[in-house]
């Protein structure tokens, strides 16, 4: 098991945003965590990385992550693409990619950048442009490409479709599928339940801070409650 989360809790003052979440991601899987706005998905993801104080336990590759600072995770192959993409707006596309390899000390960074350009021709076109001048979708591509620069084992994606036009959303999901096909394990947090479930192997449904449903993505897609609540199909 690559990632094992047990009894995850997040508090904001007196408010419990995440109430004892259990979650597993096995190597090679694409797992999605879906739920409505404010269900606590992003809080859970940030807490897993240690960006929020948390209760409960998180084990990554068999080792507990307790007390591990965030900046150590990329060296161990766990990389998060934060919500809102988090590209460095004043740095060029290429500088952003180079920054993604910060945790690495080997000399193949240049070759890896070339590899990313192969996968994302759009980024090659804009390599000398600052990231802030890219469109939202291009920024999301850059954020994913940058995360891949540290050669992750497990990629945590926080709402990659947020604020994008439908055509671009489809494109980003294609990219996620390709990245998964290359053998990167992915935990995807999404509001767009249908797309996420169609893409994923397994899924978790989160509602007001707790997991209410989980299982095979296909089964969830067919589930009546999921269809009513998240796929916009009215009760019959």
């Amino acid at each position: 098991m690559l990632l094992e989360v047990r009894g995850l809790e997040v508090h904001y003052g007196g408010i419990r945003a995440v109430k004892g979440v259990d979650l597993e991601v096995h190597a090679g899987e694409l797992v999605c965590l879906i739920g409505a706005n404010g269900a606590g998905k992003t809080s859970a993801l940030r807490a897993i990385c240690g960006l929020h104080a948390r209760g409960g336990s998180v084990r990554y590759a068999g080792e507990p992550l307790e007390g591990r600072p965030v900046f150590e995770l990329p060296r161990r192959g766990l990389v998060m693409v934060p919500e809102g993409r988090g590209v460095f707006p004043q740095l060029t596309v290429e500088e952003n990619l180079a920054m993604g390899a910060f945790a690495r000390t080997d000399a193949d960074v240049g070759a890896d950048i070339a590899l990313r350009y192969q996968a994302f021709p759009r980024l090659r076109e804009r390599r000398h442009q600052t990231a802030g001048t890219l469109s939202g979708g291009e920024q999301q591509m850059l954020a994913i490409a940058r995360a891949l620069m540290s050669r992750p084992k497990l990629l945590l994606l926080d709402e990659p479709s947020m604020g994008l036009a439908p055509l671009m959303v489809a494109k980003i999901f294609d990219i996620v599928r390709e990245v998964a096909a290359q053998g990167v394990t992915i935990l995807l947090v999404e509001q767009n339940a249908r797309l996420a479930l169609e893409l994923a192997d397994r899924g978790y449904v989160m509602e007001s801070g707790a997991i209410t449903l989980s299982g095979e993505a296909k089964a969830l897609l067919a589930d009546r409650k999921v269809r009513e609540a998240y796929l916009g199909e009215g009760a019959g």
């Binding site: 900046f71 995770l73 460095f88 004043q90 740095l91 180079a98 910060f102």
Partner: protein, 360 residues
């Protein structure tokens, strides 16, 4: 580009330029001494400001942390030197021993300021650093009781000049027919230190640490997600900046021979910030230019404003000091309007402030 200035394709031209600048800097004090030794002193203070501006540039320009109390580190360096090499405690340690101590003490104070402010950014950080600068000055003013540590507002007098064996930086000496006065000797020492610190800055900017600072400045969460220890990097920026300030302070102490809390008031912090901003935050050469301009222009104005008024109106209308600040302020406003990224902006800031149509 004009072929004469095409530095990329003719490294020889670059070296020729460096040689010209080096030669000018070597001959400069003797040329200035012809006008008056005062100008050599003014140049020495200008170099001290260059050191300060370079130090602050690490904090403000590289790491993006606005520090309005930077002069406190200058004060810490200056007082460390003064207390260890003056009759105040009867200690007379050699300068080569104290300067590193001063740098270390200043670095410690840098971390002391940095640690509690790690989570602050922008305006909030500026307010805390401003307060820090004032706290240090007020402490220096009041640490004369119960134990007389700093001698309070009277300051410390009789501070030793730099000396090495029989060689003292305070004495005039004739060598090869040239008279090396005290200020001229200090000039060469300061020049050497400045070149060293400049080289260090250039290396730092292109290093892994420099890149990490860049990331911290742009987006801290993303920087952490990239594997950058942002806590260390911010503390390092504060410590490094403070170190340079401390070294400059020690030299200031020795050159001046006398220091008091008066030398480390808020206006001085603001002056150094102005040098960095005016020259171009994050660009080492811009910062040097800013420091040189803001140290010399007021002095030049001081010497020209009065004679000019007498020539124009027959008598003096406005005090030189008043008109000096007026012109100074006006020049700063103009620069903020027409060159908001500074005189020599860093590549990144230039992009930041460029209009959208330029960027595309």
């Amino acid at each position: 580009m004009h072929p004469l200035f095409d530095t990329k394709n003719s490294p020889r031209l670059v070296w020729a330029g460096v040689a010209v600048v080096a030669l000018t800097l070597l001959v400069l004090p003797f040329a200035l001494a012809q006008i008056g030794t005062t100008w050599v002193r003014i140049t020495n203070y200008a170099i001290l400001y260059v050191l300060l501006a370079l130090g602050l540039n690490i904090v403000v320009g590289f790491a993006g942390l606005l520090d309005l109390g930077y002069i406190a580190f200058y004060a810490v360096g200056a007082y460390t030197y003064a207390l260890l090499a003056s009759p105040h405690f009867g200690l007379h340690l050699p300068f080569w021993a104290i300067l590193p101590i001063g740098a270390l003490v200043a670095a410690f104070f840098g971390v002391l300021l940095g640690a509690p402010t790690l989570k602050l950014r922008g305006d909030y950080l500026a307010i805390v650093t401003l307060g820090f600068g004032e706290i240090v000055r007020i402490f220096l003013n009041n640490l004369s009781r119960p134990v007389n540590l700093t001698n309070g507002p009277q300051g410390v007098t009789g501070i030793d000049p730099f000396s090495l064996g029989d060689f003292s930086f305070a004495r005039s000496e004739t060598f090869l027919g040239l008279t090396f006065s005290g200020p001229i000797k200090y000039y060469y020492l300061l020049l050497a230190v400045m070149v060293g610190i400049l080289a260090l800055n250039v290396r730092l900017q292109d290093s892994r640490i420099g890149r990490a600072w860049e990331a911290v400045r742009e987006d801290e969460t993303a920087a952490r997600a990239m594997g950058i220890n942002t806590t260390h990097m911010k503390l390092l920026a504060f410590a490094m900046g403070a170190t340079f300030g401390g070294v400059a302070g020690g030299m200031f102490s020795a050159i001046q021979g006398f220091i008091s809390p008066e030398s480390f008031i808020l206006v001085e912090s603001i002056l150094v910030v102005s040098m960095v901003v005016l020259g171009g935050m994050g660009n080492i050469w811009g910062v040097v230019l800013g420091a040189v301009l803001l140290s010399f222009v007021p002095e030049i104005l001081r010497w020209t404003v009065e004679p000019m008024q007498r020539a124009l109106f027959g008598h003096m209308l406005v005090e030189p000091e008043v008109i000096r600040m007026l012109i100074f302020g006006f020049a700063l406003v103009l620069i903020m309007l027409y060159r908001p990224a500074g005189l020599l902006p860093s590549a990144v800031r230039k992009r930041e402030l460029a209009r959208d149509d330029d960027a595309a």
